[in-house]
């Protein structure tokens, strides 16, 4: 009778362990795809300082000056450092979330211990190899269940705490890129148009020179349009990440529900599409 009770207790423990096993693959997929997308910031290859230098060089060309040391871009440098700081903070958070939700993090190897147990003497208990192997399987399930529950509860707490600040920071990173840096590119386009308009109205230039100027104008505008497309696509990915994080936050207490898993995989897939879109602009 006692033996049966023990076995029943063990069966219950195993059942609890199995039922508490949490697969965080969907959380990991969302956070690691978000991380990959956020990192596209480093491929924007444009900054406030770069914009300032470009404008300064344009002025020097216009005024026929070669003294580029006169470029004062201190404030733009400060702006870049603020934007970089926001980027670094968001990047660090998603990097941590991706690592913590990675199922491989808690895939502990117990083979060496199994060998040690088989070969060694464990108190008054005589251990047979076949028993070690089968009980080791149960141990692995229990460890996995325990560490996964630990990770799940930690992630729950962090996502709840981080939702508001991460959304605000994503919003401001987007603001600096798609509202301010993009605005500066609009200013640049307007300046270029004015410069080339005056060139075309200059009677001292030949028709060939004017045609070459028109070619240069379109080439410069095309380059800026391309840069703006990159900023726009990056902004789209930031919005998607922010919405995905909100979804994760709204459903953090029911992470195992099928619909939530599907929704997070869907966000990850949409973010991946935006990453491909971004790479195509680069090509």
């Amino acid at each position: 009778m006692k033996q049966h009770l023990k076995q029943f207790g063990l069966a219950i423990m195993t059942f609890i362990a199995l039922s508490s096993c949490v697969n965080l693959k969907h959380v990991n997929e969302f956070s690691s795809t978000s991380l990959q997308s956020i990192k596209s910031f480093e491929e924007l290859n444009y900054s406030f300082k770069q914009n300032c230098i470009d404008q300064c060089i344009r002025n020097n060309i216009h005024d026929l000056k070669i003294n580029s040391e006169s470029c004062d871009c201190k404030l733009d440098k400060v702006t870049d450092s603020i934007t970089l700081k926001i980027y670094g903070s968001i990047n660090g958070y998603f990097d941590g979330l991706a690592k913590l939700s990675d199922n491989d993090l808690t895939s502990y190897k117990t083979e060496n211990l199994e060998t040690a147990l088989t070969e060694g003497d464990f108190g008054s208990i005589t251990i047979e190899k076949k028993h070690v192997e089968s009980y080791s399987k149960v141990s692995k399930i229990l460890i996995r269940a325990f560490t996964d529950s630990y990770r799940k509860s930690k992630i729950k707490g962090y996502v709840k705490e981080a939702n508001e600040p991460v959304k605000e920071l994503i919003g401001f990173l987007d603001f600096n890129i798609s509202a301010n840096l993009n605005g500066k590119l609009d200013v640049k386009k307007t300046r270029i148009k004015a410069d080339y308009f005056d060139l075309l109205k200059d009677n001292s230039l030949s028709t060939v020179e004017k045609r070459n100027s028109v070619r240069e104008y379109y080439s410069e505008i095309n380059e800026i349009d391309n840069q703006q497309k990159k900023l726009e696509t990056y902004s789209k990915s930031l919005n998607k990440i922010s919405k995905g994080h909100q979804k994760l936050y709204d459903n953090i207490d029911k992470l195992s529900v099928k619909e939530i898993k599907q929704a997070l995989f869907q966000y990850a897939s949409e973010i991946k599409s935006i990453i491909s879109e971004f790479k195509k602009i680069e090509e």
């Binding site: 702006t79 603020i82 930690k154 962090y158 991460v166 004015a194």
Partner: protein, 130 residues
């Protein structure tokens, strides 16, 4: 008087840009009917308005710092905690402690005693959280 926020400054920059574009378009459209001086004045106003807009976009981006200070501090502190959590799960020394707990857990499973298993899991929890 309340200071302008980054978003308000961005709005002003947008308005200056729109104004500059209107000045530019007016000059392009009426270039032939304008005198040389009028053209020069409009060209200068166009340039000056664009400079204002350009500088205001930069100013707006720097003012962002006032809006994000709290969020930045909060998120950085959360990230530190996350790092601590996963470090505690992957740390080699911790893994050794966990492995030791595994041995105890194995023994408790052999004993078929649910209480012993619960105790061993408790030890494992301590090993991870240490």
């Amino acid at each position: 008087m309340a200071k302008l926020t980054s978003k308000q400054v961005n709005e002003i920059a947008n308005n200056f840009l729109a104004l500059a574009q209107s000045i530019g378009e007016y000059r392009y459209k009426n270039f032939d009917s304008l005198t040389k001086t009028q053209n020069k004045i409009l060209r200068e106003s166009h340039k000056r308005t664009l400079d204002y807009s350009d500088d205001l976009y930069t100013l707006s981006a720097t003012l962002v710092m006032n809006d994000i200070k709290n969020s930045l501090t909060k998120l950085e502190s959360i990230t530190k905690k996350i790092k601590k959590s996963y470090k505690s799960l992957e740390d080699v020394q911790k893994a050794i402690n966990i492995a030791t707990s595994v041995v105890t857990l194995g023994a408790s499973i052999f004993s078929l005693n649910p209480q012993a298993i619960i105790d061993s899991l408790g030890n494992l929890k301590d090993a991870i959280e240490d």
